[in-house]
Subunit: 462 residues, 2 copies
C-alpha cells in the first residue's frame, strides 16, 4: 500500500493517523463519484454539519453515548481559553444532525428528509494502525434520513445497503454478502443494523458498509416529530448509513498480488498504459504510432497514459505500472507499427493478445471489461469456496482455524453462544443473511442445542 | 440567507458554527466542480492529510505559530485519556503538509509537487458569527506546492490567483481586483500574499481568496530540500493558496435584493423554473405543454424544475422561487399554449419577454447568458463607481465614511501610515494593485509625506 504510493503513516506522535496520497485519494474520488450520483438520483441531498458536537448533545441518547464515548476525541481549549463545555470531534453525526432535522420538520409534507455528508470522523481506538482499515480518523459518507413510518425507514435502510452492494460488486469487483448484524452487535441505540460483508484473501471478513434502521429512539431523544394528515403529532423513524475508506482497504487487499496493486478499470486512475519499445533506428516511428494510439483513446474518454520516458527501459516501466495496478498495458514495438497491430497485456494474469489497430477503442473497451470480469470472478470463486458448514462448536473452531472464511451454522440468537467461539478464537458472528434468517438448516442451535431461529455466519474480522 | 434555506446557526453552546443546508451546500459543490477541474487541468493532485497537527509540528515556523496560535482549537483528550501532546485542529495545513512533501522529494525530478485538499479548518476567533463570512469552522480548499526556483513559485502563486479571479468573475459574476497584501498583513511566515478583493453592496471589501508565495521559510523549517542537476542540495520554494465558503457569502451578498436571493445561472441548483398558470378547464393542456417544455430542457442539460403543485397559486410560487433566486422563470398559461409561445422573466430585474416555442433550448441558453451578464454588469458598475481618490488623511476618512468603497492613494509602504486611518475608522489597506504598485499617482505618501512607492487601496473589511 505504501510502496504503490497510496498512503503514508501520520506523524510519529500521532499513531493511528494516515496521509492519503494522490493515488490513494484518486480511488476515493471514484468511490465518491459513483455513490454520490446514486444518492442524488434517489432523493438524497448533500449538506454539511459542524465537525464538533457539544457533550450535552451526545449525551441525549443513552445507548449511543455508552457505545461511542470511549472512542471520542475531545476539544477542550480554543482561542487560548478553556471551553465551558467539551466538544466531541464527531465520531458519527446522529446526535447533531437529528436535532436539526427536528427543526426542519413540521408536517408529514416535510418527510422523507434525506441528507448526506462527505467528511471525516474520529474514533480513538487503541489498536494498531492499518491504512484504510483501522485509523483513528477516516473519510466516509454518512447518510441520515427521517420518515413517517417504520416500513419506509426499513425500505430506506435496504435501499442504501443495495447501493453499497452495487458499489462493491459493480465498481470495486468484490462480491459481498448482505445480512443483519446480531442484536448485540448493532449500532448503539438503533433497531437493526444491516451490513455487506466481503471475504478478504487472508480469510477474514471485511464489514464493507453498514445501513442502520434506527427505529424511533433517536427521533425521541432529539424530538424529531411531525404532524400527520390527521393533524396528530407523531414521532418520526430514522435511518443512518455509511461507507468509509475501508472500501479502499478492501479493494487493495482483494485484488493485489506479489507484483503489487491490481486496480479494476472502473476506478483505475490510468486504465491503460502504453509502453513503447524502440531501438535507436525505430524510435521515431514507434513514438509517433504510440502517440496516435494514445490520442485516439483519450479522445474516446479512456484514461490512458503514454510512458515515453527516455531514461527508463521497457522492463522497468512494466514493473512500475504493474506495481501501480494499471489494468491494461499496450506494448508497441517496430513489429506492431509495421503490422498495424498492438499487443495487449492484462494486469491480473498477464494474458497477452495481439489486436488490430483498426477498432482500437472497441478492443480496449472489450479488454477492460474482460479484466473487470476476471477480477470479480476470481474474488467470487474465493468466496464460494470459503463458505462452509459446521455441526458442532469444535467443527466451527476447527474449520475457521484451518481455512478461515465463513462458517454458517444454525443459531438460537443468544450472544452467549457467540462467546463460546469468540473466547477461543477471534471469530464472531459477522451476519445473519436476509434470505435465510427464518429458515436455519437444522432445528437446533449448534452451540447450545436450544431452538435455532437463525443462520449465523461466523468469521474472523478486522 | 437563513430564509432562503442556505444555512442555520450551530448549537447554542457553539457560537461561530453553522450548518450548511442542502441549498447552500449545492452552491459550494458548484464552486468545487469548477475549481477542481481547473486545478487538475494545471497539474494539481488532490490528497488528504490528518485534521490534527501535533503542537511540535506547528511550532517549527516561528512567525507562523505566532500568527495562528491564538486561534487554535486543541484536542487534549482521546479515548478517555489525556494526550501526551496537544493536537491542533488544523487552522491551515502548511505545518503538516510541508514535512510530507519533504519525505516525498529527493531530486529536482520530483518537483514541482502540487497538492490540494478539500476540507474544513477551524480558527477560534472571538467575533460575531456571520454565516459563510465569519465562522469558527469553514470549508475550503488549500493548495500546497513546492518548486525549484523562486520564479516558479511566484508563477504558481499568480496562476492560482488567476483561477480564483476566474471563479469570481466568470462563475460567480463578481468582478474582483487583484493585488498584494501589505507586508504587515501577509501570511505569517510567507514572502508575499496576493489577494482578489470584491466590493460588497454595503461598501466593504471582501477578501475573496489568497495565494501565498511562501519563499523558502517553510521549506527551511520542515527540511524540504532537493538535489539539483549538479547534485547539489537545495532548499525548495513553496506556495499555498486557498478559497473558502466566503465565496458563497460574497455571492449571496452581491446579488441578493429585497425579494431574496439571486443566483447566477452558472451555479443555480435550478436554472429555470416553470410555473404553469391554469383554470380548471385549461389545466390539462397547460400541464401537458409545461411537461413537454420541461422534458426538452432537461434533455438538453438545463437544470429545470416544473412547479406543478396543486395546492399553491402562481403568485405564491413566483415569490418562493424569487426568494430562492432561480435566474429564469418560464410562465405558461392558456395563451402561451395556444400561441405556441412562452413568457420568460429574468430574476434580477423582472424583465419579461415572450418567445416562440420553437428554438426553446437556444432561447433559454441566450436568456441565461443574458441574466449572467446582467448580474456581472451591475456588480461591475458598482465597483467602478466606488473606487475614489484622496489627497489627504481627512479626505480618506471622509470618503470612506461617506461612501464606503475603495479609496486609492499614494503610500510609502509603512504600516504606521495605515494605523492613522485604522485608528479612526475600521478601514485598512486591503491591497496594492499589481499593475500600479511601482507607479503611484503622486510622489508623496498621502499620510506622512515621505516618498510614495505604492498605491494603496483603503477599504472597510469583514
Ligand atoms: Zn444457542
Ligand atoms: Zn507614509
Amino acid at each position: 500500500m505504501r510502496k504503490a504510493g497510496l498512503a503514508s503513516y501520520g506523524p510519529d506522535s500521532m499513531g493511528g493517523f494516515i496521509v492519503t496520497r494522490p493515488r490513494g485519494y484518486a480511488l476515493w474520488e471514484k468511490v465518491q463519484e459513483n455513490l454520490d450520483e446514486w444518492f442524488k438520483g434517489t432523493g438524497v441531498d448533500n449538506a454539511y454539519f459542524p465537525m464538533f458536537i457539544p457533550e450535552s448533545y451526545l449525551d441525549k441518547e443513552s445507548e449511543f453515548v455508552e457505545g461511542f464515548d470511549p472512542e471520542v476525541a475531545w476539544v477542550t481549549e480554543g482561542g487560548n481559553q478553556e471551553l465551558e463545555e467539551r466538544l466531541a470531534v464527531r465520531p458519527t453525526s446522529e446526535s447533531i444532525i437529528t436535532p436539526y432535522m427536528s427543526q426542519w420538520t413540521r408536517s408529514h409534507r416535510d418527510l422523507p428528509l434525506r441528507l448526506n455528508q462527505w467528511c471525516s470522523v474520529v474514533r480513538w481506538e487503541a489498536t494498531e494502525t492499518k491504512p484504510f482499515f483501522r485509523t483513528k480518523e477516516f473519510l466516509w459518507q454518512e447518510g441520515h434520513t427521517a420518515h413517517e413510518s417504520a416500513e419506509e425507514a426499513w425500505d430506506e435502510t435496504v435501499t442504501r445497503l443495495g447501493q453499497y452492494e452495487k458499489l462493491y460488486e459493480d465498481v470495486l469487483a468484490i462480491p459481498v454478502m448482505r445480512g443483519r448484524k446480531p442484536e448485540h452487535d448493532k449500532f448503539p441505540g438503533g433497531e437493526t443494523t444491516t451490513t455487506v460483508e466481503a471475504l478478504m484473501p487472508d480469510g477474514k471478513s471485511l464489514q464493507g458498509a453498514t445501513s442502520h434502521d434506527l427505529g424511533q429512539s433517536f427521533a425521541e431523544a432529539y424530538d424529531l416529530t411531525y404532524v400527520d394528515e390527521e393533524e396528530e403529532e407523531q414521532v418520526a423513524h430514522t435511518t443512518s448509513w455509511g461507507l468509509s475508506w475501508r472500501a479502499l482497504g478492501g479493494l487493495i487487499m482483494t485484488h493485489s498480488d506479489d507484483q503489487g496493486l491490481v486496480l479494476p478499470p472502473t476506478v483505475a486512475p490510468e486504465q491503460v498504459v502504453i509502453v513503447p519499445i524502440w531501438q535507436e533506428d525505430t524510435r521515431e516511428d514507434v513514438l509517433q504510432y504510440s502517440t496516435e494510439v494514445a490520442a485516439e483513446l483519450e479522445e474516446a474518454g479512456v484514461r490512458v497514459h503514454l510512458d515515453d520516458r527516455d531514461e527508463r527501459n521497457p522492463g522497468f516501466k512494466f514493473n512500475e505500472w504493474e506495481l501501480k495496478g494499471v489494468p491494461l498495458r499496450i506494448e508497441i514495438g517496430p513489429n506492431e507499427v509495421e503490422d498495424e497491430e498492438l499487443t495487449f497485456a492484462h494486469r491480473p494474469d498477464g494474458e497477452q493478445s495481439v489486436v488490430s489497430r483498426d477498432g482500437l477503442v472497441d478492443s480496449v473497451d472489450a479488454h477492460l471489461d474482460a479484466v473487470q470480469e476476471k477480477l470479480y470472478e476470481s474474488a467470487e470463486e474465493r468466496l464460494e469456496e470459503n463458505v462452509r458448514e459446521a455441526d458442532s462448536p469444535e467443527e466451527i473452531l476447527g474449520t475457521i482455524g484451518k481455512h478461515g472464511g465463513y462458517v454458517k451454522t444454525p443459531w438460537c440468537g443468544d450472544e452467549a453462544c457467540e462467546q463460546v467461539i469468540k473466547e477461543k478464537i477471534a471469530a464472531e458472528i459477522v451476519m445473519v443473511p436476509f434470505d435465510e434468517e427464518h429458515e436455519p438448516d437444522a432445528d437446533e442451535c449448534t452451540l447450545c442445542g436450544d431452538e435455532a431461529t437463525k443462520t449465523a455466519y461466523f468469521a474472523k474480522t478486522y
